[in-house]
């Protein structure tokens, strides 16, 4: 077991898979000579050379086309978006091409590619650079969508993504990139630990119970899993036992795990960083109510980011996304407190 930062887990997954499979290459802006915008591919160009670490112009459509075509032809590209917001200029390549090629050609081709990059609210990056747009991918059949919260999941899910035969979108939480192991472990002991085994992977479609509890189930993913853990700590001090379920992947989506938890706790809070309306938490909340109707003792509570473009001012940014306290309040509401 190593204690890693989330960003280190990304580097480590990429490097191991590149060493293991020479069909894997990385393409993106500043991934090579510049050593990576956030450093995750630092040293890669030197180690793997320019055919496997490809610096590109600022042409996201071209980058994704490079990925889709070479994946169809048998390579295993990893396309980095400097930020996932920028995938929007190439969104057509993702949803009308990568996602549909297998089906619309009757299964003759596969598109084993990864599209990855930092996502979500950061440090005053404002409206165009702070989005967590996972629902735009998770809604689309043909894609898989990964939303890791912990360094171990970041590594294990990214490796699974790189071995998958389908287009996989990996939403990496910018806010978690450089979170120190000590900070993580203080939230939950062992949270920063990542197995050393180079064959360690995390399967898709298996939510994870990160903390066991009896009174209420807190369901999150990515940054919000960490917020849920913090909330559970606060709730514990007030004598409320919260179970925390980390969804890990949104497509495929494992609802069996959260529903099993709710059958025990009878109460659920679903938390999501991004805009609530038509966000991923809506699907989770709907499925809980549809499938665990008779097990719920209170309405599901959704805690989501403000329905506004992200403001720049630090104080506004800070109140725009769910805090642990918002989650605590929602959890108490399910308990009638």
């Amino acid at each position: 077991m190593a204690r890693l930062r989330y960003a280190d887990a990304i580097s480590s997954a990429l490097r191991e898979e590149m060493l293991a499979d020479d069909r894997v290459f990385i393409a993106g802006e500043e991934v090579g000579q510049y050593l990576g915008t956030l450093g995750v591919t630092s040293g890669f160009l030197k180690e793997f050379g320019p055919m496997r670490v490809v610096d590109t112009p600022i042409s996201e459509v071209g980058i994704l086309g490079l990925g889709i075509g070479s994946a169809m032809a048998g390579l295993r590209p990893v396309c980095e978006m400097m930020r996932m917001d920028f995938a929007m200029v190439a969104y057509d390549q993702v949803i009308n091409h990568a996602a549909k090629i297998r089906y619309m050609f009757g299964g003759q081709f596969k598109v084993p590619m990864v599209i990855r990059g930092p996502s979500g609210v950061g440090r005053q990056l404002s409206a165009q650079h702070s989005q967590s747009l996972e629902v735009l991918f998770a809604h689309v059949p043909g894609l898989k969508v990964v939303v890791p919260a912990t360094p171990a999941d970041m590594k294990g899910l990214l490796k699974t993504a790189m071995r998958d035969d389908n287009p996989v979108i990996v939403m990496e939480a910018l806010r978690l990139y450089f979170e120190k192991p000590d900070v993580l472990d203080a939230i939950l002991p062992g949270l920063s630990e990542v197995p050393d085994d180079p064959d360690f992977t995390v399967p898709f479609g298996q939510a994870n119970v990160l903390r066991v509890g009896t009174d209420v189930t807190l369901i999150g993913y990515s940054t919000m899993t960490i917020q849920c853990l913090k909330a559970a700590n606060i709730l514990a001090q007030e004598g409320i036992s919260a179970e925390v379920v980390d969804l890990r992947t949104l497509l495929p989506l494992d609802m069996a795990t959260p529903i099993a938890s709710i059958k025990k706790t009878h109460r659920a809070v679903v938390v999501q960083e991004q805009w609530g309306l038509y966000g991923c938490a809506a699907e989770i909340s709907a499925q809980i109510a549809e499938r665990a109707f008779h097990d719920l003792d209170a309405p599901v509570q959704r805690v989501t980011g403000a329905f506004v473009p992200m403001p720049y001012a630090r104080n506004l940014e800070n109140i725009s996304f769910p805090s642990e306290h918002d989650i605590v309040i929602a959890a108490k509401r399910t308990l009638g407190r």
Partner: protein, 333 residues
Amino acid sequence: MAKKPTLDLTKYVRFYEQMVYIREFEELIGKEWNNAAAHGMGGYMHLYSGEEAIAVGLIGGMDLSAGDCFIGHYRDHGYALAAGSDPGEVMAEICGKATGCSKGKGGSMHICDAARGFYGGYGIVGGNVPIALGLGWALKYRNQKNVCACFFGDGSMNQGAFHETLNMAQLYKVPVIFALENNGYAMGTSIERSHANQNLRSRVDSFAMRSVTINGQDIFEVHEQMSQIIQEMKEDPHPVFVEFKTYRYHGHGAADTPVTQSTYRTRDEVARAKEEKDPIKFAQAKLIDAGVLTNEMIADIQARAYASAEAAMKFSDESPYPDPSELIKDVYA
């Protein structure tokens, strides 16, 4: 022009035959469109009549069994037939049958044939062009002595995707033939009304890419030039942009009727193109002149082509629609 001193005329008789097969195939669809529902046909239905020499001459210059490959846009029946795909499977796809090359899931716009290196037809204008960059990249990555051809229309060049791709293709020197089928119109919009600079090749000069203009109605010019270019690309991987001047006989798709066509071109213009620029007539005259094609052979080829199209339609008609269980298959690998 190519430096080869003499033409391999038997090859051109085969090309002639392929063009006639494609023409008959498309014309049969055009005719049967009245009866579309009964056959299972739907969608837009873009026909290739008039442009056959491009697919036949270019694809005929590639070595598909040795790893050359291609990708196209939605006007794609001719590509598959030129590559030797089974006409029955292509027709069945056009009719949404289980026996279609894409299992009936793709339809007319999404024909493909992995075994022959045909990476499919695509319906988003310009959307296939970036994918060709990746196909070419894979060839280069593996040090293959191969090329990839990418077919698209003049309308595609006004999509941003086109520009991003061409710059990167030249930057990375991928062996991709960007094959522009310049038929003068994107749906009802002429080049004049949609391209600020009507010299479309100037667009690729701006990426310092090698380019050439070819008369797409002349199978000899298409094939000789492309064969030469392909050989050079295999020796030294690089992209090439080829502007094929051509003309489309039918409306843009089945919904583009004579009435709607009259908003952008005259009947006369179409008639003149058929008369003066037909790739089949052109090849026919030349091959007769050269003494390798006789009127008898022509009648025979014509009859066989017609029979082949009819047989394809029969195969399709007799094929079942996909089983309902197919609906949810093939979403993921």
